[in-house]
Amino acid sequence: MESLKRAWLWFDDRTGLVSALGPIIKHPVPANSASWFYVFGSATLFAFMLQVATGVALAFMYVPSAGEAYQSLQYITDQTTFGRIVRGMHNWGASAMILLVGLHMIRVYMTASYKFPREMHWISGVVLWALTVIMAFSGQVVRWDQTAVWSTIVAAEQAGRIPFIGTWVADFLIGGGTIGAATLSRMFAYHVFIVPALLFLFIGFHLYLVIKNGISEFPKAGKPVDPKTYREEYKALVKKKGIPFWPDAAWRDMVFGFIVITTILLIAIIIGPPALGPPPDPSNLDALPVPDWYFVFYFAFLALMPPAMETYLMVFGPLLVGALLFLLPFISNKGERSPLRRPWAVAIVALTIASISGLWAIGISSPWSPHFHAKPLTVEIIGADSGPIYRGGMDFNEKGCLYCHTISGHGGLRGPDLTYIGDRLSANELTWRIMNGGLNMPGFGGTLTNEELSDLVIFLKSRTKENQETSSSGGD
């Protein structure tokens, strides 16, 4: 023991680690910043460290070759020792990072910690958030299955809408004009080298700033930030009421970080990684490329935005959000910090959460998508086994109506529910709508025969509340 201590003292004497790092980790912080609201930044860092560790482990087994990556992922998941858990941790760790970086940003915004002198904390944080989002997307792509391939094409198409240089950006993204071998190699380089290098750089800068300017004190209503006096007041505050960061403040970070890491591990063990989709074959068109949960709200946004404005929203929307986030500390870097005195800030956060949640909920059901696997209407639902009503019901199944319209619980959600359409529209109105379409419905005038049209209208006219009730009581 004595010799170990001597060795350590020798090492510290030559390296000066304790004298260099000791004051940093024990630097005084405001006592009221030792709060459970302040644990999300460190938890994001812990999640990032987990991503690095699991990512390195995956790199030992993953083959970043377009022709073999899919098989290597199958191998990692099904055959390697602990590979399933490592892949699971990497996947759920990414979800945790997205969630935690969002919570950290909300906390910083709500407590206005971005105000003087911490403007660069916020700006470097916005860069880190953007890099985290890029990691999440490129991570989804290196999971090289069918969804990955089509998601890459969707991303390239969005890049293509950038004025003047759109095609160049799209080609840069996917490594040429087509999806193929170059695409995965590039995505791997983005995901494993370029973006992580930037993350390390900006995390270092972010932490350096936290040490330089100190952790912000928990705000008090009626105590605004005045750039002329703030630094002196902060110095006096930590001198008078400061506590050492380690361990007095940091224990909460460690407890919460432990909970986060343990939760990720447990989910990875119990649920495991997401199942791989079909192989990345661009000629297999039986695909519905829905992104991972954190991008589902944006997937819904792309479907719901007005077509006339979509190029502007697609290209300038993210730019505008990015610019607003960057400019925030310059729009307001002094004054009240407490959310009790900043009702607009509270409203913006509430509105953002509500919008994202709403889009997310709609994105999960994707009502705009044709339901290709809808269960066909049965003879019982149709209410006849021969004649025009039956033939109309069969046409409803076969002519694609079912993909977009629901009848008695069968069918898609894109168009109106037609269970009781017979009560709402006359035969003439039905004929007109089927022939000409309208709003989001194609016209079928050129594809249906007169007999098919007539059968379909008779069938739809039979969809009345009265008929349904008679049919169900008859069934009893």
Binding site: V154, E157, G160, I162, A170, N284, L288, A303, M305, P442
Partner: protein, 169 residues
């Protein structure tokens, strides 16, 4: 006086070393950056040459039908594996008259499906719908489906492979 001169000389020497150090570092960085950045940006300027690919014998396509055809893309690398595969929708309209549609929705590139019963192409992602002739029937696509050039050559139907169609503004 002599001391002043010496200080000025030192400053001048110091400035020289500063400038030469920065200049040498910058020149070295630019020299190595040209091949590094060039190799990364190459796909932007180096376009694959379109190639005619056979997709089936003429007699295997029925007049009036729209079918999916698969082919190898224009620039497959040896390790591309299954990702070298590509597909298109081929419509035989007459004896030797064909139209070939890209499978990529003109909205955001998702794979459109041909629904024969409805005679519509439908996109699963954001609800784009196209008529049999590729024109927009419903949904957000800003234009109709893209076409591939088709020809009949020695009894084979061939299509001219192209990059993924990127809808621009």
């Amino acid at each position: 006086m002599s001391e002043k001169t010496k200080t000025s000389e030192e400053c001048s020497r110091r400035q020289f070393f500063t400038h030469i150090s920065i200049a040498l570092g910058s020149i070295a960085a630019v020299m190595v950056a040209i091949p590094i950045v060039g190799s990364v940006l190459a796909p932007i300027v180096k376009k694959p040459k379109p190639i005619w690919r056979p997709v089936g014998e003429l007699k295997s396509f029925t007049v009036g039908d729209i079918v999916k055809v698969s082919f190898i893309d224009s620039s497959p690398l040896p390790w591309a594996g299954v990702t070298a595969e590509s597909a298109a929708w081929l419509h035989r309209k007459g004896q030797e008259e064909f139209t070939c549609f890209s499978v990529n929705c003109a909205h955001l590139g998702c794979p459109v499906r041909w629904v024969a019963g409805a005679k519509l192409f439908m996109c699963p992602c954001h609800g784009g719908v196209y008529y049999e002739d590729g024109s927009v029937a419903a949904g957000p696509p800003p234009r109709g489906l893209y076409n591939y050039p088709v020809r009949v050559h020695n009894g084979q139907v061939e299509i001219l492979t192209s990059p993924i169609p990127i809808t621009t503004v």
